[in-house]
Subunit: 112 residues, 2 copies
DNA sequence: TTAATATATGAACAGATATTCATATGAAAG
DNA sequence: CTTTCATATGAATATCTGTTCATATATTAA
């Protein structure tokens, strides 16, 4: 442990202003959800239209099972919602934060 | 492979409108960087002030080595920049996109 | 009831990733 | 030049994560 602390006052001041570990952890968790190709594809597809599982599998060139697993993760994270109609389950984005986050991420990538 | 495609026209239309796999991959990569507690802590600390490695280790309750590894990742992703002054290396956020992304992520978390 | 279809789920496996530890590099001080 | 200090880095390890495969559930049709 290199406990040097070159700028003690500054470092302590910053440490006091830090958000709680819990909040920072939760924020990281949200970004983690966006940090996977398959899930980002799902999110972008759902940004265009409400879709069912097999449509998403077709659109993302993935398997039904893989998509279903990822949709569960997205749903637990409250990023997507679903409605059931007979055998078919339709998924859509839960709110505008999801779209906002996606768009700013895209902006960032395209400006490099 | 369950090639059912319940809504063929819609699914094909959406598939055509999809961004390229490469762009979606890159977007996921950016979010992946934000998707780690240690890196989020670093980003938030740097949002408050330019800091050196050992300050960051102190602030995040982490080791010098762990922070240094993460800073390399953040730098490769062009999210932070550094300047050297003697033995000390000072890190800071590269641009406003980083702060924007962080803030919208935080908004999302706090509205759940 | 039985068959067919859409989705969900559990276990297993492979690949990715963060931390630790030891050590290297590079710069200033003595 | 040697020592000290701040940072960087490589290897090893343990953990996490996404996909696959097989199968379960649930709903509709026959």
């Amino acid at each position: 442990m290199n406990e040097c602390i070159l700028h003690e006052d500054l470092a302590k001041k910053v440490k006091n202003k830090m958000l709680s570990d819990e909040i920072l952890f939760d924020i990281a968790e949200v970004f983690k959800i966006f940090g996977d190709s398959t899930r980002i594809k799902i999110i972008y597809a759902l940004k265009l239209s409400e879709l069912c599982v097999c449509d998403l599998a077709f659109i993302t060139n993935s398997t039904q099972s893989a998509i279903s697993h990822q949709l569960r993760i997205l749903k637990q994270a409250k990023l997507v919602k679903s409605r059931k109609d007979g055998k078919v389950v339709y998924y859509s984005l839960k709110d505008n934060h999801v779209i906002k986050l996606f768009m700013i991420g895209r902006e960032h990538v395209e400006e490099l």
